[in-house]
């Protein structure tokens, strides 16, 4: 387990999820692709941790691995996933099924594909409830109604008989959230929950998730590519690049003083409404695909990094602890932090 997750446990906040050296690979004709390559982090009760990165960085595969939702050719080949101390890697398939949707739940980007199109809202929600807490239909209905009200669905009784296609995108995402929170999970994993929604609806859904998770003390793992969403939602941030954690920091520290050149590049290339107009600083080069990375020696970000030296191109930097809750995978993390504060 990493230093930071151990420190977390000493604090008052109870650790809900601890991931230790998770490795997920996709078998291909060539060498296996390391989609998740030794990822470790933890989330405390009531805490929101954002997992950030661009397409193909392994953030969604990490999320799916946590609930063991990886199917061939993908495979979790190493590491431990502790949910409230239980190692999920040692559980049987049926034990995992008892945990999914119960102690840990997940919501996805596109609720239309995640909901069953031929089941009414009531049936889908009652099914989840019944799976984990068998009870009478009347009681189940009361609980479902209560949850639909909590997620702000207008006229919840009328919506019980609705099918997913009869609901708007925002309403569907609310139904998904209701379904995920029905059995009061300790951990909620949200994979790009608002990416498919319009900005005014996104604001509604983010506020809803924030309120519900803080009321229920749910640990939230928020997977997103949008730094604006990160700034508004997260307590701590984990930045991924090429299947690995490249930086971890509390949210304010991350934005004020990033320690990895990739994090700094992401922040500088994100348009910010509140700062004044000027040129955006782009990160040169392309977002790498896993297949490209096989032959990159040294730091995986070096080909796109303006600070890269010969050392970066030959030696792979480890994830170094920089302070409480802070770590970065860069040989020159101290310099990166200094240049940022000098610019400010």
């Amino acid at each position: 387990m990493t230093d930071s997750s151990q420190q977390k446990q000493d604090q008052t906040r109870r650790t809900v999820l601890a991931v230790d050296n998770l490795q997920t690979r996709f078998m291909s004709r060539g060498p296996a692709l390391k989609a998740v390559d030794g990822v470790s982090f933890s989330i405390g009760e009531g805490e929101t941790v954002a997992l950030v990165g661009e397409s193909g960085c392994g953030k969604s595969v990490t999320a799916q691995s946590l609930l063991r939702l990886i199917s061939p050719p993908g495979q979790i080949v190493g590491g431990h996933i502790y949910l409230e101390g239980d190692d999920l890697m040692t559980r049987s398939q049926s034990e995992i099924e008892d945990i999914r949707g119960n102690r840990a739940a997940m919501i996805f980007q596109e609720p239309l594909t995640a909901l069953n199109p031929i089941m009414t809202v009531e049936k889908q929600l009652a099914e989840v409830l019944h799976r984990h807490h068998p009870q009478r239909r009347k009681e189940a209905r009361a609980q479902v109604l209560d949850m639909l009200q909590k997620v702000g669905i207008p006229d919840p009784e009328g919506r019980l008989r609705a099918y997913p296609h009869q609901l708007s995108g925002g309403m569907r995402q609310r139904v998904m959230i209701a379904m995920a929170l029905l059995s009061n999970p300790r951990l909620l994993i949200a994979d790009e929950p608002t990416t498919a929604l319009d900005v005014t609806i996104q604001a509604q859904i983010l506020e809803l998730m924030r309120n519900l998770c803080s009321q229920m003390g749910t640990a939230l793992l928020l997977i997103t590519h949008d730094l604006g969403v990160v700034a508004e939602m997260a307590d701590r941030v984990i930045v991924m690049y090429a299947g690995r954690v490249v930086e971890e920091a509390p949210v304010r520290t991350l934005f004020a003083q990033p320690a990895h050149p990739y994090t700094r590049g992401l922040i500088q290339s994100t348009p910010n409404l509140a700062t004044h107009q000027g040129q955006l600083v782009a990160i040169p080069g392309l977002v790498p695909t896993l297949a490209d990375l096989g032959d990159v020696q040294g730091c995986k970000f070096a080909p796109r990094c303006s600070m890269a030296t010969d050392k970066c191109r030959s030696e792979d930097p480890p994830l170094q602890t920089l302070g409480p809750d802070r770590a970065a995978r860069c040989w020159y993390a101290d310099e990166v932090m200094q240049t940022v504060s000098a610019q400010a």
Binding site: V199, L227, A256, V287
Partner: protein, 344 residues
Amino acid sequence: MAEPQELVRVTGLKKHFPLTSGVFRRTVGAVRAVEDVTLSIRKGETLALVGESGCGKSTTGRLLLRLIEASAGELMFDGQDIRTLDRRALRTLRRDMQIIFQDPFSSLNPRMRVCELIAEPLKFHQLARGRAEVEAEVDHLMNIVGLAPSHRDKFPHQFSGGQRQRIGIARALAVRPRFIVCDEPISALDVSIQAQVINLLAQLQQDFGLTYLFISHDLSVVRYVSDRVAVMYLGRIVELADTAALFEEPRHPYTAALLSSIPVPDPSLERKDRVILTGDVPSPSNPPSGCPFHPRCVHAQAICRQEVPALRTVARGSGRPGQVACHLAEDLDLQGIPTTEASA
């Protein structure tokens, strides 16, 4: 100072798509995608057209290029009425007006090589004669948009999203247009690549004196690229003003709500009195009476439910001009996003 010259002028533009039903395709209604749009675009400027999905912004862009025919209204390009042009004249005109699409995956023919894709518009408009001339021009264009000459013989699927968007831009530039409609040109790209494409578009505008209509749902991006912004809601322009004025002093409640919904990538920013809109965007096939925004507007009064507000000039506190379609524009105290100095 002389009045800047207009390149495009649109008056009372309408587009209704008929809704049909039954075996005889009887018309049972209409989707009022664009309902009375009046605007002008000045030579050399970037006018942004923003709004949520279904507000009619893309339809407006296509109407301007006559890719679809308007139901009513006047369309002027460089002083010429383009609604009356015959096919041949339109073909000549198309050299002046180009479009860049959102999805670089579906807008390029997958069976054509990059050099063929870029040569196609050159040949179609007979802008280069003979193989040598065409090839020289293709190389030149690839160089302009930042594609390595070694990519000439590759197919679109061999490129990343950002590179494909560069191919799309090269195709648009091939005919040396004066006006380009950019329809969500960066929405499908990763953050670090978005900044590359934005900077490229800005550079090209400077080098070739281009005029852009920049269609986007992302106001943070619009803040960076545009000179003026038009906000659309349910087929109408609700506010149009200089970019800084619109962001700092919105005069339409919808603009204020949009600005307030956008997550800002700065966790230290305290945002007071956030307006979170309730409800969804109404259907354009059954728009509400009066002001299209009144069902979601917290300021709505009796007059808003009865009369459609006209787009009229309304002064701002700072004296910056702009047009607003709101009955109450003078009386509302709306919050914008103050511009702070850029930090690191």
